[in-house]
């Protein structure tokens, strides 16, 4: 196909084509004896929805994970905003905190989960703490870079027009940093989801991540794959939402992807 005909196909149709190709690949993997155990038949996986509903865990798992992810992300975001700004504005704060962040950021959360459980016990609390730590780190780094990158001449321009420090913060630095804050939200929300397994290894009684681990013990690959797909779908929905916010609030940006 040449470029002209491909560009005529609407985006939604492309999405359907992409989905169809994925389903074909999946089917092939489910037929191949070498991969069949990891990729059970599509119909079986879909049927696993009712299996899990009948066991009375399906909705509870989803809602439990959503609560942990949302709470952890929200706390991480609320903490990262002032931390990032303080780091960008005050050199001592930056010099002390930045190495910590770089140090912890590269440690897989699964490694420090047991330590958190030791102090916070089991249940909801440690789950939220693990997600808070992971999202806080990535969002702080991103927002901090954004505050640092605010164009100096914009601050000068505001100052000569009579802006006070408070005006400059609220009317220049805040909006100029907004694109970075939105990027931070995007990275933070995806980190929250990828940290789910680690977070729910803290003795959780329900949750998508916890259930995948427990299904693993009983070799039930159909519901396992189902849960993995659900995590992926949640991620895509969140991404869609962030994209919407981005369009809505930072459409003024010079650089936009086509």
């Amino acid at each position: 196909m040449n470029k002209k005909t491909t560009s005529k196909i609407p985006k939604k149709v492309w999405l359907l084509i992409s989905l169809a190709v994925a389903l074909v690949l999946w089917t092939l993997l489910s037929i191949n004896p070498k991969t069949a155990r990891s990729f059970p038949n599509i119909v079986k996986v879909i049927k696993a929805i009712s299996t899990m509903i009948n066991r009375g865990v399906f909705w509870e798992d989803i809602s439990s994970s959503l609560i942990s992810v949302t709470a952890g992300f929200a706390i991480g975001f609320i903490l990262s905003l002032p931390t990032a700004i303080l780091m960008a504005w005050y050199l001592p704060v930056r010099n002390i905190i930045e190495p910590w962040i770089q140090f912890i950021r590269n440690i897989p959360p699964l490694a420090y989960v047991p330590l958190i459980v030791l102090s916070a016990g089991v249940g909801r609390k440690p789950q939220i703490i693990v997600i808070t730590i992971a999202t806080f780190l990535i969002m702080t780094v991103t927002i901090y870079q954004g505050v640092l990158n605010v164009d100096e001449t914009l601050i000068k321009a505001a100052r000569v027009l009579g802006a006070t420090d408070k005006d400059i913060f609220l009317k220049v630095i805040a909006p100029a940093t907004l694109p970075f804050i939105i990027t931070a939200i995007r990275l933070g929300s995806s980190t929250a989801l990828t940290t789910l397994i680690a977070a729910e290894s803290t003795g959780a009684v329900a949750g998508l991540g916890m259930r995948i681990r427990s299904l693993n013990n009983s070799f039930e690959s159909e519901p396992m794959l189902l849960y993995i797909i659900i995590i992926g779908i949640i991620g895509m929905l969140v991404e869609k939402f962030v994209k919407y916010i981005e369009r809505r609030f930072t459409g003024w940006q010079e650089k936009r992807d086509a």
């Binding site: 000068k156 321009a157 000569v160 027009l161 009579g162 005006d167 003024w252």
Partner: protein, 263 residues
């Protein structure tokens, strides 16, 4: 000019600026003194690194002199003030604001809000002929249009002195000529005191009543050339013998400084 009352608007009094860099001290300005008269249009030319932008930033209050003082209407300058407007080379428009909001920014800070601010802003947007673009964002404008918005924004708060830091430096030749003509027309109407930095000698002569030639390392005033070509000046003025003579002289002086810097 005869008949006009000449009053010192900005007094630059023995200003010295030293930057402390990695390679030790760098003297950017060494004892610069100059009186900018009310309603005067002054252009400053000089090779890059002669401290002309530093001087403008000090007058604007964005930089502090190491020693020496700046007076505006006899009062010592401490920090920025809305009586001294600045137009930057990089336009410095707020990308998240429309043209109208950009021009209204300074008015809002002054406490002028709503309809009143909008009316004043519209007056200056019309002055720079962008009334069809009031609700556009900067990313939708060309370089020349962006700089027009920046000029309107500076005018809107009604400063007494306009400080312009190579405002047309990033524009193509055609747009630059057009904006020079517009700026001249506005200046002839409003007679706002103008301190304009450029590295373009032609631009300096066509605009200014006085051209300040600066020397480099350390920056100081080398020569002040009066431009006695009557206004209104047009692009044809650039062909007249007196213009060419001035251009030769000033260009020669600047070139000499340029060679100094290269040594």
């Amino acid at each position: 000019m005869a008949g006009e009352e000449r009053r010192v608007k900005v007094k630059i009094d023995n200003v010295k600026k030293i930057f402390n860099g990695r390679n030790g001290e760098m003297i950017a300005l060494n004892g610069v003194s100059l009186d900018i008269m009310e309603n005067e249009f002054i252009c400053v030319v000089g090779p890059s690194g002669c401290g002309k932008s530093t001087l403008l930033n000090i007058i604007a209050g964005l930089l502090e002199p190491t020693s020496g003082k700046i007076y505006c209407d006899g009062k010592e300058v401490v920090g920025t003030g809305t009586e001294r407007g600045v137009v930057f080379q990089q336009y410095a428009l707020f990308p998240w604001m429309t043209v109208l909001k950009n021009v209204m920014f300074g008015l809002n800070l002054k406490g002028i809000k709503g309809k009143e601010a909008e009316e004043i802003a519209m007056k200056y947007i019309k002055m720079v002929q962008l009334e069809d673009f009031v609700n556009h964002y900067p990313k939708e404008l060309s370089g020349g249009m962006k700089q027009r918005v920046a000029i309107a924004r500076a005018y809107a708060v009604n400063p007494e002195v306009l400080l312009m830091d190579e405002p047309f430096g990033a524009l193509d030749a055609q747009t630059r000529t057009q904006l020079q003509t517009e700026l001249l027309e506005t200046w002839e109407k409003e007679r706002k005191t103008c301190f304009f930095i450029t590295h373009d000698v032609e631009e300096a002569i066509i605009l200014a009543q006085k051209v300040i030639i600066m020397s480099a390392r350390p920056g100081r005033i080398k020569e002040i050339v009066d431009i006695n070509i009557p206004y209104p000046r047009t692009q044809e003025t650039k062909m007249t013998p007196e213009f060419l003579e001035l251009k030769n002289h000033i260009w020669g002086q600047v070139y000499q400084e340029y060679l100094e810097v290269r040594k």
